[in-house]
């Protein structure tokens, strides 16, 4: 088992003919993901790489392919619309890779997607991978291996770093999920932790957080109150100066709220092993 995606995931790609969309579509197909269609307005009726049918609209794509998931690679100014189109077309699982989506756009996307009953992952996230089954997004397949550890992270390359070290240490993964670092995103730590808790194949979970906000603290309490499986964690940004924004991760510290120290303390108080360095995650998992 795995969470959110597996062998039954039937994916469409919004922006399939774009630079990023086409590159990663090929990567996903190569990994074994069932890519059943793509959307590029005006290219409806054509085929991508002579095999994947392209549609003008998501509604058309869903009607023709029975897709149950979508991944979005469209420019930031069009991403909000793409997410809402997907939700409106009834797709239950929406992954938005696009970086740079205006946060006010997301204040509208969030309630819309919720009203439609869809799950949104991202935006500004690397997507997710259930090793050996399906990958949706941009996480490099070769750094992962099937196993029974779940991983959830707000970061991209830092996730790769940790997953890679897990894989090298022989610790496989059920699913690795990058929730994205934007201030407003569709899926948070708790959503993923609850899914991992419910997944029979996941035995323990790694949670990688960042400075900014209070999601990690909320997640820590959730772990303490609701989870039976062991969780270990890491927080990036211990040396970040207060009040400055550390790039697109949207890590903002306002006053004392959201510092790395505060988050690490919340982890420890709630029984989550805290890695001092990314590599320490492996050791903490061994101790479980």
């Amino acid at each position: 088992m795995s969470i959110f995606i597996d062998n039954d995931t039937r994916l469409i790609v919004q922006g399939i003919t774009g630079r990023d969309g086409s590159f990663h579509t090929r990567q996903m197909i190569e990994y074994g993901t069932q890519v059943v269609g793509g959307v590029t307005p005006g290219k409806g009726g054509q085929k991508f790489d002579e095999k994947v049918p392209i549609f003008n609209t998501v509604h058309d794509a869903v009607k023709e392919t029975g897709a149950n998931a979508t991944v979005i690679y469209v420019p930031p100014m069009f991403a909000a619309d793409a997410m809402m189109e997907a939700a409106d077309a009834g797709i239950p699982f929406i992954v938005c890779i696009t970086e740079g989506v205006p946060v006010l756009d997301m204040t509208k996307v969030y309630p819309f997607v919720k009203e439609k009953g869809a799950r949104l992952l991202g935006p500004n996230c690397p997507g997710l991978i259930s090793p050996g089954k399906s990958k949706v997004g941009i996480i490099p397949g070769r750094i992962c291996t099937p196993g029974n550890i779940g991983l959830v992270s707000r970061s991209g390359t830092l996730t790769y770093e940790v997953v890679f070290q897990m894989t090298r240490a022989g610790m496989g993964q059920t699913t690795c999920v990058g929730i994205g670092g934007d201030p407003i995103n569709g899926t948070n730590f708790i959503d993923c932790l609850a899914a991992f808790e419910a997944d029979p194949d996941t035995e323990s979970v790694v949670m990688i957080g960042e400075i900014g906000g209070t999601d990690e603290q909320d997640a820590a309490r959730f772990v303490n109150e609701k989870m039976t499986k062991p969780v270990v964690g890491f927080i990036a940004g211990q040396t970040a100066p207060p009040g400055r924004r550390m790039g697109h991760a949207g890590a903002i510290i306002s006053g004392s709220a959201g510092t790395a120290a505060e988050k690490m303390e919340a982890f420890e108080e709630n029984g989550i092993g805290v890695a001092k360095r990314p590599i320490d995650v492996v050791q903490l998992l061994r101790n479980n």
Binding site: V101, P102, S155, G247
Partner: protein
Amino acid sequence: MNIHEYQAKEIFRKAGIPIPPGEVATSAAEAEAIARKFGGTVVVKAQVHAGGRGKAGGVKLAKTPQEARDVAEKILGLTIKDLPVKKVLVTPAADIETEAYVGVIVDRASKRAVFMVSPAGGIDIEQVAAETPEKLMRYPVDPRYGLMPFEAMELGFFLYDDVKKARAAAKIMQQLYSAFVSSGGSLAEINPLVTTPAGDVVALDAKMVIDDNELDRYPAIAALRDESSEDPSEVDARNANLTFIKLDGNVGCVVNGAGLAMATMDLVKYYGGDPANFLDIGGSSNPEKVVNALRIITSDPNVKAILFNIFGGITRTDDVANGIVTATKQNPLKVPIVIRLTGTNEEIALKILKDNGFSAMTDMDEAVKKAVSLATGAAA
């Protein structure tokens, strides 16, 4: 993106918010002329992207045009939080009866724009939140409906018992929300919102931060950027599409991805070093970005060693290697460099580096340790 008080005031004014007149001066003589035009007492305010201007001596009253000149002279010579003051706003002094605070900010927790209002204005709102939280009202706005009249009235009554003032404040809050949303704001603030003895409600200060991601949508707002008011290296980095924040340490860091960049800085600290910067080259692997990154980092005289930490996913590590080679050919390095590369096209990258006289590593911890020891002068 930060904008100046006078720019935010112009946006607020267009939205209908009552704001006293004001003009910007870049010299003491100009300030004097403006003060003469307005007549009476004026306030001279430093236009700089930093809070606490008052405490830093950046806001002064002037009773005469000559005094305005003197005061402007002084303020234009200040440096507030490392930023030199290059402009002042001259505005007639207002008669103030009460001071309130009104702000709207996008909030992660509620996933909405949230109003924060307090009848205790004119001071730091964090202080109000900490010391007298009952005087601070937080009010999330449903983006599907906007700030509705009845909601604005509730906020207005939180500030003022008098219905006329409450109504005036309610109107201002609706105008502020509209300005905020239609400018792509991530923060908009009036501190203080004052009442005058005549019973008017007026915005005496204005602050706005624009979501960088909205700038493509609002060219007129994007054009407000004042690069002369920013740190030159950060301007340089932004123009090169890099996310860069200057710090005080001596290990220059070049990393792909914000999370990994922060983790790298943390690891520098962990091994006893001090990062000189946060620098994220982002997901794409254009060699030009690497060239720019090196140029910006090496322009900091504090940097004693450079650390590359690249985990290739979308980023092709051979592109990064090529960038390093190109950059160092153009401008030979004066400090040691430690390169850690792994992931996409790792073998090609390592060969390129080796062929050009660089050594490289694949382990993050080892690389950080080495960079720290090089920067501190200890043996690697």
